[in-house]
């Protein structure tokens, strides 16, 4: 048996013969060109990651130790190395810490919420494979593929304090209107709401694929042993989809530490900076005020945070396995 099952992998291996791997292994001993072929196919993708992923990080790390701004771009000879001054300034910047705290808050609340909701949606969609359920699948997936600009325009109008849909509905049932995007506290909730709505789509499809890979025989065996639906779910289904669930949590965590899209389009970090996440704070300092050195320092701090969180997650997963 393989150690970590891929989504749907166990079911496939139960019913069909194993792929003819031994032949390829023997072949690679006799023909080393097949290993070079593998590298050759991987190389373009690796090159892209190196040039567009790794290099900008190294450049940002370098720039974070300078005072680069737009004047420095025009006259590189005026750029000065300032050592850790940018990092010291970051540590003493209350706006930076507010953005950091806000992002941490969103991650702590949002990621478990998305995991639970996506799992709930996937479990519901897994009930049947009928036409109606396939339609539902498309509907739940739509937010993931709709253009962000379209989403933001519609949600902004729905949240609008004067003529928005939500306040009109509240008025219908006699409740007082809420200043969704104007009041700092409700703006944070409103922005988080839209972000969770967007994130459920893709994650629920991943979990649905994993759920469909849970072999029916195991569930039947558990039922025969007298396990009720809840125990079957907790002790048979959840362990089977462990890998997919861990993937969903990890990718959502990495994505939400860089929370940017929704506050940018809905409130531009307002009102009075209530929804300014860390990425939005860096964007404003780097691309609106052209303080490249300062923003680069912030982005390196964000990178280290994401790397640390991801490593902790991987360690926890290994320990669990």
């Amino acid at each position: 048996m393989q150690s970590s099952p891929a989504p749907g992998g166990l079911a496939a291996s139960d019913r069909r013969p194993l792929p003819r791997r031994p032949v390829a292994r023997a072949a690679s001993h006799r023909r080393p060109t097949s290993r070079w072929a593998g590298w050759g196919f991987a190389l373009p993708a690796l090159a892209l990651v190196a040039v567009f992923g790794l290099m900008p990080i190294l450049v940002a790390a370098g720039v974070s130790f300078t005072d680069l701004d737009i004047a420095g771009l025009a006259h590189p000879e005026t750029i000065r190395l300032v050592g850790a001054a940018n990092y010291v300034q970051l540590a003493g910047d209350p706006e930076f810490w507010a953005a950091f705290a806000l992002t941490a808050g969103y991650v702590v609340v949002g990621v478990p919420l998305i995991a639970v909701l996506a799992l709930a949606v996937a479990t519901g969609l897994n009930r049947s494979d009928g036409r109606f359920f396939r339609l539902l699948r498309t509907l739940y997936f739509l937010p993931a593929v709709t253009a962000l600009v379209a989403i933001s325009v519609i949600w902004k109008y729905m949240f609008n304090g004067q003529f928005g849909l939500f306040n009109w509905l509240l008025d219908l049932v006699g409740l007082p209107a809420v200043n969704w995007l104007s009041d700092p506290a409700s703006a944070q909730i409103a922005v988080g709401l839209v972000a969770v709505w967007r994130a459920i789509g893709l994650n629920s499809i991943i979990l649905l694929a994993a759920l469909q890979g849970v072999p029916g025989e195991q569930l039947e065996a558990a039922a025969l042993d007298g396990a009720g639906p809840v125990r079957r779910y907790l002790y048979v289904v959840l362990p089977q989809i462990r890998f997919a669930l861990g993937f969903v949590v990890m990718t959502t965590l990495i994505g939400w530490l860089q929370f940017f899209d929704e506050p940018f389009v809905l409130t531009d970090g307002g009102p009075v900076g209530a929804t300014t996440s860390l990425s939005l704070f860096l964007f404003k300092r780097g691309f609106r005020l052209n303080e490249f050195g300062y923003a680069s320092a912030g982005s390196i701090v964000l990178l280290v945070t994401i790397a640390a969180v991801t490593l902790i997650q991987l360690r926890l997963r290994k320990a669990h396995d």
């Binding site: 373009p44 025009a74 609008n160 003529f163 307002g270 691309f287 052209n290």
Partner: protein
């Protein structure tokens, strides 16, 4: 089976190789046409190609505007449309790469970035040959000393914009107010009179994103927002301006929702008065033609003075352009009062050249008369990157007090400290 697999591998490998080769060849193939232009040093000869950056979505209309210039000079002008949101990105990439246009439109709020990035050419020595570009043709608000704090002449005026008082004359007369308010005190009194909280009607609207508004209030209170290159938020004038701004909120005359839409609010009557620009007049005329005759504009209420904002765009020649003479010829053509009037007719932007206002199309329009009157007493925001950083801080502080109920003394003290840090920076 093996044969088709080998063929498939070969096909995929060829595809990868050709795409990588095409990518490598790409940049080399697209050299800028301006490089092939003749030297710009001789006044009699000039390059036959120009690239112009135009902001917003008026590129097509701009091409029509300059068609006569292209025929007359023989220069082929390529117009590039730059969305307002990405102006700063295009500027920084052009500065970093050294590859820019020949002529660029510059929104006055971004002038400081263009100057700091050393993107524009100093044309002070060349202006004498181009009569339309003489400083006397334009209002004193855009004198070269105001536009170029460090000397030289790096841009020339192109279009103007200002802020005036919009008011619903029908709502005012219904409340017994015969004429729009002329002073600060009248404004506060009238706004209070026109406010009916229960019916969600407000007397005055202050956009929470309007960074110039506290500055214009400071000017009206007789003071300066920036003196000797340092931003000052502790002066008596600024304190008076802040009290005026916050007082209107305290009276309850101003809606506190940050997503309040000013066009819808003005048309529906949710707000009776507000300070805005010609773009609002255009929007109201388009969206609510039935409101014709029920609204109008007036110059802003005065305190010590009635100074309002001078905004708009300038035009500049890119620093390392290879067709400086051609660029200046285009600027000269665009500054011609006839061209300025044609652009007003086509795109609705107010001219910068003062002679253009004598044309019948502008002098006959009562709204334009008010704009022209206001432009006579209008000033630029400080042309400084320090101002860019400080303007959002000032706005945030005032909004925190007015909308979120923060402590006035503490917030203004924190603002003064923040501004002091900005002043001390580079």
């Amino acid at each position: 089976m093996m044969h088709s697999r080998r063929a498939a591998t070969a096909l995929v490998a060829t595809l990868i190789l050709t795409t990588t080769a095409a990518c490598a060849a790409g940049p080399a193939a697209s050299t800028t046409p301006a490089g092939s232009a003749s030297e710009a040093s001789s006044a009699a000869t000039y390059g036959k190609a120009l690239t112009v950056w135009v902001m917003g979505d008026s590129a097509t209309k701009f091409e029509q505007l300059i068609a006569p210039f292209e025929t007359q000079s023989g220069i082929d002008v390529t117009v590039e449309a730059i969305p307002w949101d990405s102006v700063n990105d295009r500027l920084t990439s052009a500065v970093a790469s050294g590859k820019g246009p020949d002529v660029t439109q510059i929104g006055l709020s971004q002038l400081a970035s263009f100057l700091k990035g050393d993107a524009l050419a100093d044309v002070s020595a060349d202006l004498a040959a181009y009569p339309n570009l003489a400083e006397s043709n334009f209002p004193s608000a855009v004198a070269s000393t105001a536009l170029n704090p460090s000397g030289g002449v790096y841009s020339v005026p192109w279009i103007a914009d200002t802020r005036v008082l919009f008011y619903r004359s029908d709502l005012l007369s219904a409340a017994g107010i015969a004429a729009p308010p002329k002073t600060w005190d009248e404004l506060r009194a009238d706004a209070k009179k026109l406010t009916d909280k229960a019916a969600k009607h407000y007397g005055y609207y202050i956009p929470q994103w309007d960074a110039p508004l506290p500055v214009t209030y400071t000017w009206q209170a007789g003071g300066e927002i920036m003196a000797d290159g340092k931003i000052d938020v502790t002066s008596d004038a600024f304190t008076k301006a802040a009290d005026h701004y916050l007082g209107l909120y305290a009276d309850g005359s101003v809606p506190t929702a940050s997503d309040f839409d000013q066009t819808t609010g003005f048309i529906s009557g949710s707000v009776a008065m507000l300070v805005s620009g010609p773009y609002l007049a255009k929007a109201v005329a388009e969206q609510a033609p039935e409101l014709d005759g029920k609204w109008s504009v007036a110059t802003v209420p005065t305190d010590v003075s009635g100074t309002s904002l001078y905004a708009g765009s300038n035009l500049g020649v890119w620093k390392n352009t290879t067709n400086k003479v051609g660029a200046l010829m285009l600027l000269n053509y665009l500054a011609d009062p006839a061209t300025q009037v044609a652009w007003y007719t086509s795109n609705g932007d107010l001219p910068a050249a003062t002679k253009a206002y004598q044309d019948a199309k502008l002098s006959a329009d009562p709204l334009v008369q008010v704009y022209a009157e206001q432009l006579k007493d209008a000033r630029l925001l400080p042309v400084s990157t320090k101002w860019d950083a400080a303007s959002s801080e000032i706005l945030n502080a005032l909004n925190k007090i007015a909308v979120s109920g923060a402590d006035k003394g503490a917030t203004l003290k924190a603002l003064a400290d923040k501004v002091a840090t900005i002043n001390a920076g580079n």
